[in-house]
Point group: C2
Chain length 335, copies 2
DNA sequence: TTGTAGGCGTTATCAG
DNA sequence: CTGATAACGCCTACAA
């Protein structure tokens, strides 16, 4: 059943059928009804491929993320999908993993599928070594690139993010103001936003101007499972590194920190304050619940899609939008 | 840049270019190289829409889920996407919410996009009132329908699931065997798999043959946030309903149960045993960590895609595949 | 081994 | 307001 069949049955030309379907040009009420009736009657649906070929778009945008099962990313995908759908766009999902080579591969795959835009979810898409971001700029020559929670300069690259620097700065500063002295910064990823957070921590610590504190020891990069991370902290503790608070770059790290505290009978938040990041579902699962930095994911995603639709309409849109984070105070911290 | 441009530059016909691209028919090494060089040189990529139109497929399968941010569903999506990609298929994601009307809408949307198959993630897609499942059977006339964790009879509908009945039966039975008497069953969704779980619980309880226990009171349906669920349990407790164990249909409910225990100073698992379901990431976030029923999501997803690929190849494939769950024992239970 | 030509199902541009 | 007809870019018999 195609447009010819419909046109024959309705006794009109295919042009008229097309007009009725798309409702752009004027068609007399009478013929319109006739066509509509036939369409209804034989359950005709326009062929999306043919339409795609003619219009050179299937109204689809590609979403790239490292791992859709990560709670933070999963939420982002949800918000993005909803918003795209609202605007009549489909979402093509790609889980790339964390390797740049893979990301490049998926990028050209999506490009070859001719999606109308590509959304990069997560700051891990912005490499610190900028030459590795070239493939993104290259892609931006074909379609608009939207980055969720990461910033990259370049034409046709639109970034929406939260001010991670400030958030970590404020969180660390608050701890200092409340008497915590030796604050550990625990992180598991090096990326654009990762570096911002790190800088926020360092800047806050430097306001104290302590000569005795070797900050390198307090910058703890560790990538592993919940248990491995807990063990890592325990080994630091046993080795005698003194710390009374831990600021983390992710809620899951904070969960590990909490497990570490339990294992070593440190009372939280009295002897050890812990601050998570992302304010994801898991922040509510522990006891006490995690104090966590909320990076306004829904607002960020919403803004990104709104910007994209503006770009589609040919409007001038800001290349960068920055939201403020909010510290959600719960049981693992004392301010 | 299209196939004509390439053919001109290479000094061959478009048919030859097409043959080189698709590598099906024989082309002399010399011309092949020539064409490949031109393609490389001008960065030509075949137009996916045109190809789709000709072949009547874009090698895309639709994924429908209620909410991609749910940890269980998010994991399923991840496994599915990876497996599809492995087989050179793209994943089109739809988050439908929990209303049947919406699901129907999305189903016809995907159908109109002419995806090669549609995957329904989550038992919530199978309604207890079977007439509401008619739209799925209808869709199955056009494309294979794969159901993850739900069962629905029908031609061209392939289901892969875990034996929820047995899992809950065994879990409940184990608690009974270990001296727990008043076991509450807490659930938040009515669906195919929801009913299976419920039956498993009831069957296990009936083996005890207790005249004094009004089982209706122990069947607790409650749908709400973590906190609301906790409060619901507290109100049951205050009202005097005696219970020493809680079996739940979802890890998040078990988290609420744990919070309830903390709030009321009940020691877990001594005074109260708690069993979760799905063995998701959040089962590891609490203290003690949740004993949870693992429903082998990765295996289920893998099987579903393998089955789908068989269907695509025209092979006869089983309409239903059932895996066994596994009870992962952790700190919230004593067996 | 290679080329020619028709078909896939739309949309859009002109005439009328 | 409506109808012919030419794109859109590829695949694939069929011919050579």
């Amino acid at each position: 059943m195609n447009i010819y069949d419909v046109s024959k049955r309705a006794g009109v030309s295919i042009a008229t059928v097309s007009r009725v379907i798309n409702g752009n040009s004027y068609v007399s009420e009478k013929t319109k009804k006739k066509v509509l009736d036939v369409i209804e009657e034989c359950g005709y649906t326009p062929n999306a491929f043919a339409r795609g070929l003619g219009l050179n778009t299937m109204k689809t945008v590609g979403i790239m993320c490292a791992d859709s099962s990560d709670p933070y990313i999963a939420s982002a995908i949800y918000y993005i999908e909803q918003e795209l759908r609202q605007n009549n766009y489909d979402a093509l999902l790609c889980c790339t993993g964390y390797e740049v080579e893979e990301k490049e591969k998926y990028m050209s795959l999506l490009l070859s599928k001719r999606t109308d835009a590509i959304i990069l979810v997560g700051s891990n898409f912005v490499e610190v070594d900028d030459s590795k971001n070239q493939y993104i700029r290259e892609a931006a020559k074909s379609v608009p690139i939207m980055i969720i929670n990461g910033a990259l300069n370049g034409e046709n690259i639109y970034c929406t993010l939260c001010d991670d620097y400030h958030a970590v700065y404020e969180a660390t500063k608050s701890l200092l103001n409340n008497g915590y002295k030796n604050i550990l910064y625990l992180y598991n990823a090096v990326s654009y936003s990762g570096n911002k957070k790190l800088s926020g921590y360092i800047a806050a610590m430097e306001t104290e101007n302590r000569a005795d504190l070797k900050i390198e020891e307090y910058l703890q990069f560790f990538h592993g499972s919940l248990m491995e991370t807990k063990d890592h902290l325990t080994s630091l503790y046993k080795r005698g590194l003194p710390f009374d608070a831990i600021v983390t770059s992710d809620d899951s790290l904070a969960i590990s920190a909490l497990k570490f505290a339990k294992e070593n009978n440190l009372s939280v938040p009295k002897e050890l304050s812990i601050i998570g990041y992302n304010n994801s579902i898991i922040a509510l699962c522990s006891e006490p619940e995690l104090t966590s930095i909320d990076n306004k994911l829904e607002a960020v995603c919403y803004n990104s899609i709104t910007t994209l639709m503006g770009v589609f309409r040919g409007q001038a849109m800001p290349l960068r939008t920055v939201f403020s984070c909010e510290i959600i105070k719960r049981g693992t911290s004392r301010f």
